[in-house]
Symmetry: C2
Subunit: 522 residues, 2 copies
């Protein structure tokens, strides 16, 4: 067996004297109802160093042409051009979302790199968009999946693309630094359980927000704890001293960011009481506590109880700050459990999602493919008994046709030499899928889906920041008709071929095209 | 809300004058029947640079203690020690496979990094081991999942740990270079379909393996194609000229590595005939062709047909080389389809697996947890209504007890201060799980599972190469009793607590321990 990278490259070296083979490849998302396209990291496309070449020499057969290794050392993307759907655009199955043009060998070498960069990013971004649709626009969503990702790099990709897909926050500080994503987190259970006694709290004083002398904060909190327990009819003897010590230490360090996890022992017997006592003391010193995190059990039921206690505290102690406390819920949230959250009464303001988001448990992989569509001006097509797996031959343009409400009604795939469809002018086309009949449509508006993003080795379309792509993704999703984006049993979105492309497909399938030579004699 | 990294660290700075908090943490694999432990990349544990600290300063509240940032800049792992199960050992649910000891803040900062490094690596390694068990020991397995991994780094992790789990080859050339994993691959369909005519084949000659003048290889192959078609009753007019040209070019470049993909058009009408013609010509020039790859359709049925044709060619043309040709199968292979392959008649020698291997579709995430077990010499325990989610308190040792056949019969978790169990001496213990009763066992052999791998910031156990860990993994799996490792409905493996650890758990659960302070007065 042989490294697949070399088989084609040697062929290229062998053909160096002939006119450079130009060919085109595209990505075609299959299997997924829709996916958000995310652009490739173009600068990373190829960089082979001398020691890489020496490694390849060591694993290839002894007789391998020396010119191949010299060729590898000189390899670059200066003759490669890419047109792509901009990052954050919604694309549908079978739409060619990326077209790569360049020398045969170089473009074949890019196959796995491009698929690796596009597949998971698109998948996790689309998954995040589904969580956003399930959560509704109001609830804030926090990504916290690093510990279940495929290593640090997988985790960073997940943080970036779930943000683009509609999440608001990440717990990954490096992603915050690199991509400007707002970072957030609360405390760990191990922080809470590392304390056992109030004697461990140090310093023990806090200066009021408005200034003044330091106040004995432990004493203040103990007083509030008594009043809270009395109000709620709870026993102070069941309150965990370590939990109270942990909250005290945290609040003294971050009086303006007090948001503890309250389920380390018992929410109702200890965690919630400790929170209220510390938060009331903070309010007394004119600080605004932020809220609580629930990490186990029935989040809906607990959030109702917590909210009730907050309201009761305000009623009893006149602390309007308690009306704006937030409740964060984090406990193996899936798309389904998030959708169920919307049906049950609850008071959860922020939801943290980890495992089900980054590992995409609903669909763990995306099957974009990278196929040859043209060689030296001649169209190429992969035929398959499964029509879904056949590719569309030739260089193409993709147009999105909008209806009078500005909603996408169809994506039209044409050969690139065809004129673009015009708004208000009817056209005939062949929808892909079961209906094979000709259809007539009059678009109210027409947009071209792909842009030239990389031309002869240079980036020709400015790379977007994560927040710019996020905005595009949300707009792109908003314009979709609700029946195309609903999570259960969505309507099929129509993707159609132009008449000209349709007849090219028919010709090649029937063997009438120059692209499908048979060996007529030996 | 707040970065969780900082909440505990500030506490640490505040406590700098008190005796350093020592605490212990362990990994406990839950949810999975068994998992292979893979060691953390210890050198990467912590390295915070100045600009990272400046980023943290920019996102933390203005009032954050300046000493915290100075502390961060000085942070290192010089006071951290780790004991761990060696990479490639089988571990079972609830066994503490890694114990980290060090200053509270540092060890808490390591939580997500360690979980991120261990979780996916262990999961994908265990998944690979299941594929190996399903495939049986004879069939060779090739990992080819890069394009579905979570980016390049996720793909590298997958290549390394699937090799350790029992795969033989990878298509990831960088993994081959970095970890010494044997690399392999065949050609892409796009390589085959990029050719359309024999005119594109250049050079057209091949020098025989034993030396001599260059032979017109196209002419030679055309002759063989005619004879093959005659033998099999096939029509040369259905043979794809482009496919033949691709195979010719490949064979001329790599006469000793001829292993083409033969399903680009039609295996029986074109691909197999082209292969036989080129392979027979190679044999005539004393080269040994390697075999074929099948990438679609019913792999079993096709492999039988391909093998029949190989035998017929040998019978007719006396080419014993055709008896050792291999057949590679690659087509969305899952653990289940691999197991089914073993039940159906087929002639597949090598199986390539991508998506289902690296994304672990059967179970997409592993839930190792990292929990506090001791603070300043006092045991800590997380209690939960779900006994599976409770942690085991205190510093511990883990022993594997073997029966008289040398097979593991039980893992025994003891407090570290207890004496190790002795071979031939009976002991009593409490198995975890449903049976709460005391059990008596007399081990024939006792081994300690964990080793000190990192002591006060230094690696103290030599890091193993991928092939050394692979060997350990295979031995570790082989010693298991078959009923513990069968893929469907395996027997539970017993993990038990020593009497002393069991009574510590009971004490803490009943609130009798010093570790569980309640607030007795306010």
């Amino acid at each position: 067996m042989l490294l697949s990278v070399s088989s084609c490259v040697l062929q290229h070296v062998a053909c160096m004297q002939s006119p450079q083979k130009q060919f085109l490849l595209h990505f075609c998302p299959v299997h997924y109802r829709f996916c958000l396209f995310v652009s490739v990291l173009l600068r990373k496309l190829i960089s082979i160093c001398v020691s890489d070449v020496e490694y390849l020499r060591s694993v290839l057969p002894a007789g391998t042409d020396a010119a191949f290794f010299s060729y590898l050392k000189e390899l670059d993307c200066s003759a490669v051009s890419v047109s792509a759907v901009p990052e954050g655009s919604v694309v549908f199955a079978r739409v060619p979302l990326l077209e790569v043009c360049g020398p045969l060998a170089v473009v074949q070498l890019l196959e796995t790199s491009l698929l690796c960069l596009v597949n998971y990013a698109s998948l996790v971004c689309s998954n995040a968009a589904r969580f956003r649709l399930a959560a509704g626009p109001r609830r804030r969503l926090m990504e916290m999946g690093l510990r279940r990702a495929q290593g640090p790099d997988g985790g960073l990709t997940a943080s970036r693309y779930t943000y683009i897909g509609g999440f608001d926050l990440t717990s990954n500080a490096l992603a915050g630094r690199l991509f400007g994503i707002p970072v957030a987190g609360t405390m760990a259970h191990s922080y809470v359980t590392s304390f056992s006694s109030l004697e461990e709290v140090w310093p023990q004083t806090l200066v009021p927000c408005g200034g003044g002398g330091p106040i004995d904060f432990i004493c203040l909190v103990k007083g509030w704890l008594g009043r809270v327990c009395q109000l709620l009819g709870s026993k102070t003897s069941l309150v965990r001293e370590g939990e109270l010590a942990a909250f005290l230490s945290y609040a003294i360090a971050y009086p303006q960011n007090f948001l503890p996890v309250i389920d380390s022992y018992s929410v109702s017997c200890s965690g919630l009481l400790c929170f209220c006592a510390v938060a009331l003391a903070l309010c007394e010193l004119q600080y605004q506590p932020l809220g609580v995190r629930l990490d186990s059990g029935d989040l809906c039921r607990q959030s109702l109880e917590v909210r009730r206690v907050f309201k009761e505290c305000n009623k009893q102690f006149s602390v309007p700050q308690f009306e704006s406390l937030i409740i964060v819920g984090t406990n193996s949230i899936s798309e389904q459990s998030l959708a169920e959250l919307n049906k049950k009464e609850n008071e959860i303001d922020v939801v943290g999602v980890g495992t089900h988001l980054v590992t995409c448990t609903r669909q763990p992989s995306l099957g974009c493919v990278y196929k040859l569509i043209e060689v030296r001006g001649r169209p190429r097509m992969k035929m398959s008994e499964d029509p879904e797996k056949s590719t569309l031959p030739g260089r193409k343009s993709v147009y999105r046709l909008l209806d009078t409400d500005g909603r996408p009604q169809m994506d039209l795939i044409c050969l690139s030499e065809e004129a673009a469809p015009k708004a208000g002018v009817s056209l005939t086309c062949f929808p892909l899928g079961l209906t094979k009949t000709l259809q007539t449509v009059t678009p109210a508006q027409v947009t071209s889906l792909r842009l030239d993003v990389f031309t002869c080795g240079q980036i020709t379309f400015p790379l977007k920041s994560a927040s710019e792509s996020r905005e595009r993704a949300q707009i792109s999703l908003q314009t979709l008709h609700p029946h195309h984006k609903r999570l259960q049993e969505p309507h099929d979105y129509t993707v159609a071929l132009s008449e000209q492309l349709h007849s090219l497909v028919s010709d090649i399938t029937k063997g009438n095209s120059k692209g499908s030579n048979f060996l007529l004699s030996n």
